[in-house]
Subunit: 396 residues, 2 copies
DNA sequence: ATGACTTTCTCCAGTCACAGGACAAAGGGG
DNA sequence: CCCCTTTGTCCTGTGACTGGAGAAAGTCAT
């Protein structure tokens, strides 16, 4: 099925579509206040958008002391698909044109099985959402992958944790399978866009979004736009060296941040601690393979275990050390901490804050909030929907 | 004397002025090729610019097989003043509208004497340039100061090495004294703009410009525009911690990069080395106060002294360690090394390169040139001229 | 109910920006 | 001397846009 054949014909229409997306239904008069166009011109552009079917006028709003206004809203049938591919699980969600999540599925998965297997699963999940009646079809999809992406082409490049993905034409392939436009980006960038659109980063122009999960990455937003760097690898802070000649890292170097703190490193440290007789309450959580996960550590810390709290604090200190440097360098207006280990909560945040406030310049930290993301696992999928809507709501 | 009363009336005119600034004299036809406007519209805008006196038509170019074209160029009498205030010296230069340096003076100075004394000296230097016949007056001035600046107002904020400058209304005061528009920025940002306009960074959109002088700073260029951060302190990498619990730094923290490598730190290390019986050939260069400078170390290294080379290499390693992190984070297309210690030359560059290429991600370093700035002390003043011309060559 | 006042939206005419073609000017080459 | 190329100017038509004059549809006080 072919959907949303129309695209905005000019920058004004694109602007209006985004206003309706971000601000919800609006009257012509309210739109006019935000757009610096004469009422006449605005009416013309709105009429054209109505003709294309991208927006609809449904019903009258309550009077505000005068003639009642017509409600202009984005077509209620528009549906975007947000896909967030992690290292060990996938999130797939449908949103409407205002990027509200209508349905959300999360399933375990292993990226190392390669793109073909992963996207088979993703497409099945999308089909499930469609079958549940949330969408008759998709007008666009935004996909996040856990590694660098050559953004214009939508192709992962040299992804360390995703062997077999290098050069796989994700955008082209999924666009064919799904029959709609697709955009691909790094998962961290999607998280940043999600928090920017619907989370803690609303109304902040320049901010950093640090995602700590299986790996560590950082979304960089400059002037409201995601900055991706010249080869799409900007924000890859997991392999910044924090300890000269330190622990070996999977990347081949030594002393990388990720070798000290990430979901994987934390689990490994916890297993070691159990082996040394510490962290006894975690011993019974060991699975058959003798493995623990970051979630177990979070639970132990929440239960007040001192060793677990120490592990989290040590990792937070390392991470805070790196973030402190980035704050001095980038001077952001906000730092968002998110990703899988957000469950470690306040202990982690406190450690990071301590390091940053102590090490960074007073001028850079003076008015700098460091907060946890507020969207959790939906940040990525909302970011995906935002990514593709940004693309579709721009002049053809 | 009032000069350059006119400003471009619209974005087209601004665009044309910048093309003439960056590309030199041009015919209407050549301009038309670069600007995506019809010949008629272009002719109208050029005529209007001619009326204002901002550009002039002088003479005919050689024929290229048809009618000879008129040379359109920026008014030859336009003069910009570039001022680069360092910690221990000032550079002042006059440029024409194409930002070519017509005259350049450098004088020793001490920022700590405060803004009033410093600007008295700067104004005297400007007067000297004027008296030498290079300018009848100035159409604008761009000023760089060695500390963070609240850019829109042109006011230094909380400058660590410039007590007495905090809040001094540089832009307003100098604008009055000079009788022309003034813009103020961090000196590092000016260096970046200089190298971007006339140096190694031409045609690079995203790059970093590391200036190592009395302190260490980094200019950040994103999409061709200088990024200043939310409080104007972006790029302040001198106080990133490179050694937990390391050497005390003037900023009050410990282990800052500047405590290990900068003009001041290098001189101190050299003095220590002399005290320990090393670096004997430098002993006779000690001044009456028993002091050395970075220049002395550079000379010793050039003469082949192993200790001097080791000092430079050690500093380069520390700096490279920090830059490696920034490269992973920012994924630039180029890294420029400049500032006073550029005299340390290849030894320094090699150390930095080694660290970056070894520590940063292959994807980020794959095609990453790390080079010395090519403008030396003129980078800052050209950047100043560029800063003010960007401002003047934008719609009023 | 009635009139005064608001707010929203539409219609219309006039202005400005701009493109594109015709044409003039000025040169080169066979 | 004729034809071609390049550059620059002029002119006209089209579409974008503004601002004002209403019309439509409501609230509120009297």
């Amino acid at each position: 099925m072919r959907r949303m054949t129309a695209r905005p014909a000019n920058a004004h229409q694109a602007r209006l579509l985004r206003l309706l997306r971000d601000g919800g239904p609006n009257s012509r008069a309210q739109l006019g206040d935000q757009v610096d166009l004469s009422r006449s011109k605005l009416a013309v552009e709105v009429d054209r958008l109505l003709e294309t079917g991208l927006v609809v006028a449904d019903g009258l709003a309550a009077s505000r002391g005068g003639r009642r206004s017509h409600n202009i809203r984005l077509a209620p049938g528009l549906r975007f698909l947000g896909v967030d591919i992690g290292a060990t699980s996938v999130d797939v969600a449908v949103t409407n044109a205002e990027l509200e999540v209508l349905g959300h599925i999360n399933q375990p998965m292993d990226v190392r099985e390669g793109p073909v297997a992963v996207f088979e699963q993703v497409l099945a999940m999308a089909a499930k959402l469609k079958a549940s009646g949330l969408a008759e079809g998709f007008d666009g999809a935004g996909i996040g992958v856990p590694g660098p992406v050559r953004f214009p082409e939508g192709v992962p490049v040299a992804p360390p944790i995703m062997p077999g993905w290098d050069g796989f034409p994700v955008r082209e392939a999924i666009s064919q399978d799904l029959g709609c436009p697709v955009m691909v980006d790094n998962d961290v960038n999607l998280m940043a866009m999600g928090e920017q659109h619907a989370g803690v980063a609303r109304s902040v122009g320049d901010f950093l979004c640090v995602k700590i999960g299986t790996g560590i990455g950082c979304g960089i937003v400059v002037g409201g736009e995601v900055y991706r760097g010249v080869t799409g690898s900007a924000g890859d802070i997991g392999h910044i060296q924090v300890e000269p000649d330190g622990r070996p890292c999977a990347c081949g170097n030594k002393g990388c941040l990720e070798a000290y703190f990430s979901g994987a490193a934390l689990a490994r440290d916890a297993e070691d601690a159990v082996g040394q007789g510490l962290l006894q309450e975690l011993a019974d959580r060991l699975d058959t393979a003798g493995k623990l996960s970051a979630v177990d550590v979070a639970a132990a810390a929440a239960a007040g275990d001192a060793t677990a709290i120490d592990l989290i604090r040590a990792g937070g200190n390392r991470t805070g050390q790196v973030i402190a440097g980035l704050v001095s360098f980038f001077n952001p207006g906000l730092v968002v901490i998110g990703g899988g280990v957000t469950g470690l909560g306040h202990t982690l945040l406190a450690a990071i804050r301590t390091q940053v406030y102590r090490q960074s310049l007073p001028l850079a930290t003076g008015n700098l909030p460091i907060v946890l993301g507020e969207l959790g696992p939906t940040a990525g999928v909302i970011g995906g929907a935002r990514l593709i809507s940004d693309h579709l709501f721009s002049p053809a």
